[in-house]
Symmetry: C2
Subunit: 141 residues, 2 copies
Amino acid sequence: MPDTSTATPASLTQTLADSGLRATPQREVVFNVLLKKRDHPTADEVFARVKAELPTISLATVYNCLETLVQCRVVRAVNFERGPTRYCPNLRPHAHFHDEQSGSTHDIDLPPELLEQVKAVLPPGYDANAVEITFRGRSAS
Amino acid sequence: MPDTSTATPASLTQTLADSGLRATPQREVVFNVLLKKRDHPTADEVFARVKAELPTISLATVYNCLETLVQCRVVRAVNFERGPTRYCPNLRPHAHFHDEQSGSTHDIDLPPELLEQVKAVLPPGYDANAVEITFRGRSAS
DNA sequence: GCATATTTTTAGAACAATTCTAATTATCAC
DNA sequence: GTGATAATTAGAATTGTTCTAAAAATATGC
């Protein structure tokens, strides 16, 4: 079975085409940079690395390319709670559901045992003092 | 059993004192604003609401108060992945572990059934198309 | 109570991450 | 090739947040 858990430079062209987008050098280099060193770089860091190969690329293009790759689902944006920080006084263990339609955020109570189960996936040597679970999607109400 | 899942205006004074901090009007009003309308307001929104009662308060103070309340654990900051967005090409279902010491982020593979269990806590009417799980803490390596 | 030290607040400047804008360049369909 | 569309560019603008230095409030030792 081929590994489909990561896109390849070859499949990128096809994936872009499937979305009616072009495989430009900038997009390819940005993607290759992400494949080469998987340390979850920021846009700025990607910019710095891409410059080595495309010295004239602009930061705006890096943002554009990253956004495109995320749209095509060949790259994930890790911190996708982008906007401003929000505050809540609910101290129960709970997750957050972000309604993409209304922009509102709802608390979702979490059974403590589920939190334990989630923490249990951590390999030895990892000690988490906080777990944040965020859903995104639509809610009826 | 008293409900300890939310701090009260009365307990706030004590909680602050326990941390060697003062219960100032600004801190109290900021906290009351969060209790009054639990819609996960941003700092700007809190600022606007607090102004109704303390017209001369500054935005910096609101940030300071919120930070203080979070430190005392009477308030949670929802989007605590604050820094820049990070990107990864790993398309497997995975969580992220953020090492607070080194600042590095590691992928934690998630068994698909765990993701299902997590999604199962959503009440009827909630439809999530994405779940983000982030750990924070220390990792040995 | 008073002087002094400490904490907190304030206004505004500074900063960092991101998005927007308008002009230029590249690519596609014909 | 020509015209339409897509993508890139540089730089300005915007947003959310933090910093700074001074002023105000509060606590503490006397």
